[in-house]
Structure formats: structure tokens, C-alpha cells
Symmetry: C2
Amino acid sequence: MRCEILTIGTELTLGLVNDINAPYISKALSDIGILCDRKSSIPDDIEKISAAVKEAISRSGITIITGGLGSTHDDLTREGIAKALSRELVMQPMLAAMIEQRFKRIGNTAPEAMHRQAYLPQGAEPIQAMQGTAPGFIIRDGGKVIIVLPGVPTEMQQMLDFRVIQLLKEEFSKNSVLRIRCIKTTGESELVIEEKIENIFKKYDNLSISILPHPGEVHIQIVAKENPEKAENLAKTVEGEIVEALGELVFGFDQETLAEAVGMLLKKHKLKLATVESCTGGSLSDQVTSVSGSSDYFQGGMVTYSNELKIKLVGVSREDLLKYGAVSAPVALAMAEGGRHVMRVDVALSVTGIAGPKGGTEEKNVGLVFIGLAWSEGSYCERFQFSGKRSEIKIRSSTAALNMLRLFIMEKFEETGGDVS
Amino acid sequence: MRCEILTIGTELTLGLVNDINAPYISKALSDIGILCDRKSSIPDDIEKISAAVKEAISRSGITIITGGLGSTHDDLTREGIAKALSRELVMQPMLAAMIEQRFKRIGNTAPEAMHRQAYLPQGAEPIQAMQGTAPGFIIRDGGKVIIVLPGVPTEMQQMLDFRVIQLLKEEFSKNSVLRIRCIKTTGESELVIEEKIENIFKKYDNLSISILPHPGEVHIQIVAKENPEKAENLAKTVEGEIVEALGELVFGFDQETLAEAVGMLLKKHKLKLATVESCTGGSLSDQVTSVSGSSDYFQGGMVTYSNELKIKLVGVSREDLLKYGAVSAPVALAMAEGGRHVMRVDVALSVTGIAGPKGGTEEKNVGLVFIGLAWSEGSYCERFQFSGKRSEIKIRSSTAALNMLRLFIMEKFEETGGDVS
């Protein structure tokens, strides 16, 4: 079964906001074996919405529409759908009552405009909102199903997860689960990764393998496009081959983040971590603490942004700062060593660099970053030259620091260094 | 002039990655007065690409296509377009030579597959790549223009910014610049904002006004849809009315971030800032240092994640931690006061809370956060109850802390407290 997604909103077609609803929906549907064949964003315009709805239902069995269900003047999705299906908008007394009730609860009467939300195309079956005021609805039209959901991501996600997925599962997905596997790497560029695995994916014509760059990471997506059962085995085989070819570049799979992979290693080997950051400004500790339960291994961090704090908090020497500059290997090492000592941890990571766009010199370009690591038996430091915007350099630096820590633990503490399975 | 955008890739229709190219393109085009009427994502499938291209050029004067131009087996955009236009793919000797040269430079010969990139639909005019290997191209067909760009965002953006925009400007945008203005607020929910400005935007039918929620912020977009010159004045009027109605909830406009707004205030009043974070784990200092030049006012920060470090680094008392718990007003105040003292700054912000999803109790729910502020004359603390995922609670907490600082400086240091223009 194939589906199509329409997201409605002039803010989407003008590029003022990124569409996060369409990816969420297509991911959730592919998990139950329903593939999305097209996603479109349409402006808040009755004619354009109507035309897009007509086209979508002519092509696909399931059309999912989000956005434009609010009460303001630019919410025209109900009208557009009614027009596409040549149906009237009809007041649903139950929805009107619910809207009144919501406002009564906060001691108000519902504004006139709110009542627009009680009008749905003839024959529509409302999907009750779990929060917010915008109800969703389902319409069936000549064997086709149209599901209409609110545009606010949290409301849309709740309605999709708790109501729509169940309904679609019962009606359409007959045990045909699609297999999607993501192999995540860090430490090498897309080009290097492609060269290393080129020969593998050339062998498998019936799998779709994509190499997707992310800041500081490269992901390899294996999608079993047809005949899921046979492809399941193939996907496993190809996954094994890719993991072998890439070795320690692979840090995890699917939803696992690098911070989670590193957290698992720290936990396993009972290591306490601290960070000392300059150019990343807290982005490294922010990544570390993105993991629920990270307080088990993360003690804390310092953002020694000024030279004075580098000296005062972690004991970098004023001489080194003058002689080598704040962005240098000796300072990175001193930050890691000092941080480890002051915060009493097993391992400390430090980052110092030039995040840009200003601050670069002839000798030290924007994107030059030193990352230090100190542990009980010593310390070392690596030099990186990153490119990109300020935010990208920050995230690439944090990612590189986490990866240095990952490789360090694997080498020093894992019996089978390099094995990340 | 209207345009349509097609982004090609099964990873997009399956929701494995978010489409960041389409928003970038439509924003860039709307800046030169070309409005995007539809954005669609299409899987890597010749038939589906061909059908979508045919539809797009039947509707719109300009069609912009990204992705699927690489050298791997799933890159089928060239073939799909050739099919839609009933043209042959023809080898372009110059492109082939350039590809060979790129590989020669790194001491290799180009793999056979790479040569696919040298084949373009008959009549296509290549757009040279500034980096990467994938060239873009332009095709004209019966008065319609089709522009095809690589899918890697950085390559696409460079090609668009430095080649395509100029071309489209000369050919299509005849001084008809569209006016888009974004008013940014923080501190109140979407619903409260809507109630406050409802009466204003009801008056202006010829402007599109949208209220867009972001984590911790609500943005109000004013878009002048037609007759840009007349609408320009109207937009200015309505902007003034909205700013007046919302008062100090407004922190900035358009691309300005809250961290930039706060940074300007700190700089203006020569105040040095430090942060002491627990549950936000560095996300607050990360936001502060997202601003280029933030080292002028940001001295540094501490992430006192463990209780031991709260005691050791900023002098929180063990008694308070036992008596009130780490997530409490006394601890937030002690963190801010201690941080201010240790890092020798004018103002220190502290955050302590429960980011979840675990760690909540009956008394203290996930999302409970205390934010402290200490300055030379005292300190105070506010209690917040946020909702959402771990990452959302972190970002909402950081945003609330920045806003507390913004309101503090406005009240204490700005002569006209509340005026943020």
C-alpha cells in the first residue's frame, strides 16, 4: 500500500519553517510497511490545496494531510478538501460542544473564530484531539482514505501515534514490515566511506543503499525496497559486510547516537567523565547530557571561555597562553589534565579552537581545533581542521571529541579493540 | 513569477532525513520576489521522477530540482528528467574531463561509475560545481526553466547562492521584492500571543499573518502576499501594532536569536556573564556562545552535574542539597551566587531541574526547573514547569534563563524598561 503526504502552510512553501511533520509521518508509516511515494507542501490557498488533494487521491490509496486546521483566517485546509471532494462543510455539534467546554474550563467563552474548527467536510469522521483544540478527521472517498491531522508537531504526533497508526495497521499493513537499517559512522568523510564500501553495494541491486552525510557523521541507510522477507536476510548480510569493511568507524545503528554509544562504554567500564570546553562553549557537555541517565558517568564540565578562567579554573599556565596561544596543543593538554584533576574524574576531554566566523589568522585558520584527553596514566591531544559555519564547527568539534573518547576506551579497555558490535 | 521545488531521494520520502534543501531554496527565492507554490519530495525512481517533473513544468515557470545527481546506482534524476522531456542523455566531454582531473589531483583515476555524472539531458547547460563532483545544470523547455542542483546541502547552497540566484534575478525578478517580517517572542504560549494580537490581524485581510510555535519561543510571521509596495507600508503599520500589544515579550526580529538579543544588551551595558548549569548540561552556554563575538561578554560556565561538583566548584552547601534536594530554589540561588563569585562576573545564571524522562517524583515532576540569577546587589530565582521530551526541556530551560537575563537587564539597566526596539 502506498501513501502520499501533503503539508499545508505558506510558511512551509516560503521556507520560513522546516517541515518536520512529513518526515515524522513517513517514518512512522514505513515502520508498519506503508511506503510514502510523494510528499508535497502547499500554500494556504483553497484552490491550490484542492488541486493537490485531487492529484494525491488520484495516485495513492492513502493521503495524509497536516496543517491549516486552526481557527485563524489562513487555516483553509477544511475548505480545500471539501472543494476537492465536492462536499459541503457541515457543523459537527459534538465538536462545537467540545470547543465551548475547553474555554469554559479556563473561565472563558470560545471566540467566534474557534467555531470554524467544528465544521468538517460532509461524511468526515472526527479524530479527537488529545491536546490542543484542532481536531483531526478521516474521510473515505471511492476506496481512498484521506487522513487530516493538525499542523502543530506535538499534536500531530500524538494523534498519529495513538490513533492513526493503529487504524492504518488494521486496515492496510498485512504483516509486510519494511526493513530499514542505518549504520552510523564518524571519523571519515562521505567520499572515504563510499570508496570503502562501493564494492559491497554494487553487488546488491535489490537493496537501496544510501550514504548520507550529517555534521561530523556519515550514515549508511539500507532499505529493503521489495519482497521484504527475502530482503531481510540480504540486508543482514550486507550490513555485516559493511560493518566489517568500516571497522571502528562504525559507532552505532539506527536511532543510537554517538553520545549514547560513548555513554554505554563509560558505564560498562565504570569510568567517570568531565569536559573542559572553550570554542564548543558547552556543546560537548550538551551532547553528553542528551542521554537520559548520563549522570551515572558524567560528573560535570567547565566552559573556560576566557583566558582568565582557563588559568583560574583548570590551571592553564599564563606562560603557555602567551607563548602558544589559547588555541594550541599545550593549552588543550593543560585543560584536560587540569579538568581531570579539579573535577576528580577518570577521563577528561578538552576542546579549544576557533569557531569563527571571526578570529582566524594566517597561522591559525577558522576551524582549527585541538582536542585533549587526559586519564590516570597520561594525556594526548589531536589537531583538527574543520570547515563550515560557526554552528557546524562547534558540532563537528564536539563529535570529534566524543569519537576520540570512544576510540580511547575501545583501545584501552575493550578486550577486542575495534569490535563495536 | 512562481516556482516549484522537487527534492529527489527515497531517504526523503521515507522520512529518514529531513529535507533542508527545499526550505533553503524557497527562502532564497522569496528574497528576490519569486514565490514557491509547491514543494515535493519524490523517491529515487525514474517513472516517479519523470511524472513529477512533467506535472511541475505544466504548472510553474521555474522548476528547481535537487538530489539524485551522484554517481551511485540510486542517482536517477538525470534519467527521470530526460524521460519527462523526451530527450536523450548526452555525454558532455568537458564534464568528463573535469571528473578525470579531480581524481588525478588525488593520484587516482576516476571510477567508471563517476562518468555517469558527465551525461546530461540533450540541450542542458552545465552549472559548474564549486566543490564536490556533482555538476548542476539548466534546461529550457518551451518557455519553462528547469534548474537541477546537487543534493548535498553545502554544494547545493553554494551553487544556488553564487550562480542560480543571480541568473534568476536577471531573468525573472523585476524589482518585485516580497516583504517578510518575523517578530520573535518568548515567555508566553502561542495561545496567549494569539489572544493578545487577534484584534490586530483581523483588521488586515491582505496580509498573511501566522503564529508559529518554536521550543521556548513563538514567532509571528507577517507576509505581504500581493502588491508588495502597498503591502510594505501596511506590514510596517501592523508590525508596530503587534510590537506595542506584546511589549517586552518581543525580543527580536527576523534572523535575530534570543542569544544575540541578550548579547547586545550585555555588551551595551558592559556586563560580564557566567553560567552554572545542571539539567541543561551546557545547552545554555552553547546558546550563549552561538553568537560570534560572545567572548566579549561571556567569561565561561560550569556544568555542575553531580552534587559533589555543585559543592566543590560553586560552594553549594551539603546541608541545602540534603534538605531541599538538588532541584530547589536554595540550590539554584547558591549555584548562581557561587558561580558569580568564582568566575568573577557581573551576572551569573544558574539552572537546576529534571530533564527527564526519568528522575521525576510525586513532589517534583519531570520538567520542574529552577533558574537563578545573581548580580552585585543580590540574587533571585524563578520556578518553571516545562513539558516535552528531554531535549525540549533542556532547550526551554536555556531559553527561559536567557529571557530572565534579558528582562533583568532591561529593568535594571535600560532607561526605558520594556522598550526593546
